[in-house]
């Protein structure tokens, strides 16, 4: 049982049913990354999915943005406790990208320009729950927020939504990525408060 904090509570906010436990609402868009922001020219950008056989599906920027895309309106939740409701994105569903990918592996490691990695179960990327997003609020995604393109997995804490994503590698086991090796939970469900080890 938590002990009361004397004098706290006078500024309490309204209860918000869309907020997972321990989160607070923000209206700006905080930026959290472990290092400098990479800047990737679209002519050099590509996105790939590599399976256990070494087979690699790869898209250039033009090929990628020619794929069917979807508008996504969703809430996002950062492990540092801010949540932002009703954000608007455009991107390609992972279902679309995995249409032609044959794999028996259940886990994915997302790799980013700049070296960032994060692990995600394949199940969390399929079924209309994840996208490679390249627009935010109708504009090209800003480099600070992961542009040209980032993974968007809104039902998990936002560190799973790898910025500057450049590819996915299928893996047999749920090996930890960057933050997962540095103290954060292997899966990261905000509603279960899967924040840390």
């Amino acid at each position: 049982m938590a002990s009361f904090t004397r004098g706290f509570g006078s500024r309490r906010r309204e209860a918000e049913p869309d907020l997972p436990p321990g989160q607070y609402l923000t209206t700006d868009f905080p930026v959290l990354s472990a290092g400098p922001t990479p800047r990737i020219p679209l002519s050099e950008w590509s996105f790939s999915i590599r399976t256990e056989t070494g087979e690699t599906a790869r898209w250039s920027w033009d090929e990628f943005t020619a794929l069917p895309s979807e508008e996504v309106s969703t809430d996002i939740h950062c492990v540092t406790r801010w949540s932002k409701l009703g954000t608007s994105w455009r991107g390609v569903a992972l279902d679309t990208l995995f249409d032609d990918v044959e794999t028996s592996f259940d886990y994915v490691m997302a790799h980013s320009y700049g070296g960032y990695t994060t692990n995600v179960p394949l199940d969390d990327l399929l079924g209309g729950r994840a996208w490679i997003a390249y627009e935010f609020d109708g504009e090209p995604l800003d480099p600070e927020h992961g542009g040209p393109a980032r993974l968007l997995v809104p039902h998990l804490y936002f560190w799973k939504s790898a910025k500057w994503v450049r590819g996915l590698v299928m893996q047999q086991h749920d090996d930890p990525g960057f933050w997962e090796q540095n103290g954060y939970h292997l899966r990261g469900d905000p509603w279960l408060e899967e924040r840390y080890w």
């Binding site: 004397r6 004098g7 700006d28 930026v31 840390y196």
Partner: protein
């Protein structure tokens, strides 16, 4: 070091460090100690059970059950105004941690270290500078600390003290400088960052902490100056 659950913490001391920031010393029975640069979560519970949680950098490091935080007021914030304006000695809150294994300096590392702080971003970097000083580390340490005015510097006296002993210090002022200050007042430019930090040839490990815009600019300046992005670690807070 594994994270445990919430630990009760008693406020053992409070002191102002600027007109809008306060240093809080907590007694946390069961605290496992922490590395310089780590953070923790604070949870406040109102009498009706309402709770609010936030993350704060830790200014202290090493073993022991005393933990030092420095909290700057976030205008219109919920937790920081309480901690800066209301909390008193013997008040109780809860903490969880230590957290984060990346934005951390290890005493055994002898590589040059470049610290770049904006405002209250000094807190985890001060933990590193303190640990470095306490250990008598051979690693060359350099600090670039950007504040709006001299009065906005958290831990100003202690930083001046460290600068006299173990840290090469450069101040940067964005709004108002002391009288006769030779440098221009204003946001840091890439040239000023380059002039006030280790050159890429020294291969420093760089830690940058502060508001997003500041961290973005400082990290970009370090990369533009030729530093390996993989040696530039950042911690950004809100906005």
């Amino acid at each position: 070091m594994r994270t445990t659950g919430w630990l009760p913490a008693r406020i053992a001391a409070v002191r102002p460090t600027t007109s809008h920031a306060r240093v809080l010393t907590l007694d946390v029975p069961g605290w496992p100690g922490n590395d310089p640069g780590q953070h923790l979560d604070v949870r406040l519970t109102a009498e009706d059970g309402y709770q609010a949680e936030r993350s704060y950098s830790i200014a202290s490091s090493g073993p022991g059950e005393r933990v030092e935080l420095a909290v700057d007021t976030v205008p219109d914030g919920e937790v920081s105004p309480y901690l800066v304006e209301v909390a008193e000695v013997d008040d109780m809150l809860e903490v969880k941690g230590p957290l984060g294994a990346y934005f951390v300096w290890h005493e055994s590392d002898t590589d040059p270290v470049q610290l770049i702080a904006g405002g209250s971003g000094i807190v985890p970097l001060l933990a590193m500078a303190r640990a470095h000083d306490r250990a008598g580390s051979a690693a060359p340490f350099r600090l670039l600390y950007s504040v709006r005015t001299p009065d906005d510097a958290l831990y100003r006296d202690e930083i001046l003290d460290l600068a006299g002993r173990s840290v090469d210090l450069t101040w940067a002022y964005t709004r108002a400088a002391p009288e006769g200050w030779p440098e221009p007042v204003g946001r840091l430019t890439p040239d000023r960052v380059a002039a006030a930090t280790w050159p890429p040839a020294r291969h420093p490990l760089t830690f940058i902490c502060g508001p997003t815009r500041f961290v973005e600019a400082a990290a970009d300046a370090m990369v533009a100056a030729g530093h390996d992005p993989a040696r530039v670690r950042t911690e950004r807070f809100g906005g």
